[in-house]
């Protein structure tokens, strides 16, 4: 074991001990700690901003773009916003203790399945230091110990934020080790974290596709895979053209950088004439580059010829792949081949078409006459989310507090034997 591995292992052990203390705490005890965290962030805003200044100056020396620096930068106002987000999490219902199933078995045993915390949640994330407090608060609210591994570019900010949060919670019933930063900021510390199966119950990577792929490939700890979204909008022959244009344009252009943004538009040939010209005009006005197949190119000379790669690309930019299909089954085949199983949308006024599409598309979320942009914990009414899972195990789609829990069967008898 290297020094880093030893330090990460010791931290994971402390997290596990903290998790055991956290599990039986009441909602009131956890909310008190969250409230103390929010207060402490506000009270220590100045020292957080000055730690952040070190990260910023290092980023400038490294020649980072202004966009990167803006995402990294904290001000008193931004710290205030982070504190408000922590308070909002405290206001959410506590998922722990909820009875999911319960009945009396024929032999008189009383069976209850109850939500319990997962235990230790490891989070590997990039960029923004606001994730630090947000992830810590979501973990604490759901009774879990947070073991955080932020990016090295925000190490000074993250270290100070975690110091402030730990100082706040240790004055309450919550142990300081409920919130820990993984020691070290190099690649080795992330790798050591991924080997802590048995101490860390789940790893949630938050960041770009390459970070997520690395964690999925290398982690011995179970992973909840988040993020990648090559989302499609399919305009059915029976669509209302107005709604089709509105949904297609919104799904692409309301925001480019999010995983629920549409990257490919599929239009049924039978309605292309009534929909495509208007969509293409709107997209041109918004400076979106359209990568189209031959039939799409006929409508607009600014359309770029689409390649096989375009169908597979999550652009996250002002680009949209567009294809005309001759049937819904052709659209379903295209989606099956290229989908990342995140969000797929159909625009149609036909009940039969909607039913066919929703039962056959394999994705975390299927939208009918609604923009793909609605796949979001906030939009779904979850209050907060730790990420959007596009795997099928454990949690699928936006992950709120209930998705950060496991279950336990409590079986009560009166000396029952088999």
């Amino acid at each position: 074991m290297t020094d880093t591995e030893r330090a990460v292992h010791a931290a994971a052990q402390r997290s596990q001990e903290a998790a055991a203390e956290l599990a039986p705490l009441t909602r009131a005890a956890k909310d008190e700690a969250l409230s103390a965290m929010a207060d402490a962030l506000v009270d220590n805003a100045e020292s957080i901003v000055s730690a952040n200044a070190q990260d910023i100056s290092r980023a400038r020396e490294a020649g980072e773009t202004e966009a990167v620096i803006d995402r990294l930068a904290l001000s008193r106002e931004r710290v205030g916003g982070i504190a408000e987000a922590v308070r909002a999490i405290a206001d959410l219902p506590d998922p722990v203790g909820e009875v999911l199933r319960g009945n009396v078995l024929p032999n008189g045993l009383e069976l209850r399945q109850i939500r319990v915390p997962l235990g230790v949640i490891g989070i590997i994330y990039e960029g923004r230091p606001n994730v630090t407090a947000d992830a810590a608060a979501l973990c604490l609210k759901s009774g879990n110990a947070a073991l955080l591994r932020g990016s090295s570019s925000a190490y000074a900010s993250n270290s100070r934020i975690v110091e402030v949060l730990r100082g706040a919670v240790e004055k309450t019933a919550v142990p300081a080790d409920a919130v820990q930063l993984v020691p070290g900021s190099g690649r080795e510390s992330a790798q050591a974290l991924m080997r802590e199966r048995g101490l860390v119950d789940v790893l949630i990577p938050r960041g770009g596709a390459s970070l997520i792929r690395t964690v999925v490939r290398e982690s011995a700890v179970p992973v909840v895979e988040t993020g990648e979204g090559n989302c499609h909008v399919y305009v059915d022959e029976a669509a209302d053209p107005e709604k089709a244009v509105a949904v297609a344009v919104n799904a692409k252009t309301q925001r480019y950088s999010t995983c629920n943004t549409a990257e490919t538009l599929l239009v049924h040939a039978g309605i292309a004439e009534r929909v495509l010209p208007r969509v293409l005009r709107s997209l041109r006005e918004l400076d979106v580059t359209v990568h189209g197949d031959e039939r799409v190119q006929e409508w607009d000379e600014t359309v770029v010829a689409a390649t096989e790669e375009d169908w597979a690309t999550e652009y996250l930019s002002a680009d949209l792949a567009v294809r005309v299909v001759d049937s819904m089954d052709e659209a379903l085949g295209h989606i099956r081949t290229h989908s990342t199983r995140h969000t797929e949308a159909i625009v149609t006024d036909s009940q039969a078409a909607a039913r066919h599409f929703t039962s056959r598309v394999d994705a975390a979320a299927v939208m009918v006459n609604a923009s793909t942009r609605f796949t979001d914990g906030g939009e779904f009414g979850f209050g907060a989310e730790i990420g959007i899972s596009n795997q099928k195990l454990h949690a699928r789609g936006p992950m709120g507090l209930p998705e950060m829990t496991s279950t336990k069967y409590v079986v009560t008898g009166d000396g029952h034997v088999r």
Copy 2:
């Protein structure tokens, strides 16, 4: 890619295609296929028994014990029993389509979270060929394609059973590839299966601890870990001695080879005098070897001195580790150190003690005044189980049909945009 890898990859692709066909099938269509499977097993019992004879004679040549051969052996009657189990699975409710959450969002979007099949379930198992039909039926009932990798010792039996099942389902709406045996029976085929992330949605290993550990360590496909159970019975100071003796003896001796069998008994010092002598006498009569600490040894000269290793051992045999503790917290500390988080039991008449224990023990199931042996899909009323998960992600405890599903959000609007 080797030939085996190519063959396994092609099989996984066929499974994925079959899964896409299975997902939208109605309960009636799936039950018809299950019924056809059961009929075909009965009709082809003779050829299954004769294929099994090849496995048996190979096992005899290899010098296997009669116990191993008995577990491998199929007769007409046993095949009939397998067919009955398939029919019983058909009778269970279909988990697919169940609405788990649903509401109308403030903007009018209708949100529903629906159970859907996982897709392709890979099962790596040992020994008994009855698992082949059982696993195939559970997968099919829950809308999943089964990709089965049995042990090489049962390869002839498994091949014939799968052939019979495929012949039966392909006369119905279910595609033959809904049930496939992984090509090849060597170690390489299991390893190839574990690399099929993206095509295989989950791997469930069924078998001994070493098989499960290998799969957990080597698999790139997400795994649901089943099986290992180092279960404890804690007899609290406030226990009813009668119930304590009954539960302790039953938890150890009702069956030795199961994962929910108790392996360690912890007795509070304040009640040891009223409980331990009777437990030790019963165990001696049943030829159980007790591995006890010094205080236990005082009660019975046949008690063997327990070592540190005994506390960590899942005996699966007529052995029990026994320790006297001075407090519940000492028992909880012992359990936290040695538990595999499967099933832990307390015997007590104190509400406060039961509450303290159940909220602090981290396990799939916590029994109060009941034998650990009740952690079982059949006992819990699930009708059938694919295994008992002792991991925290996705499913924890006995896994019935609902645990073999994922979810999908279906969101219906009227041209909604953000």
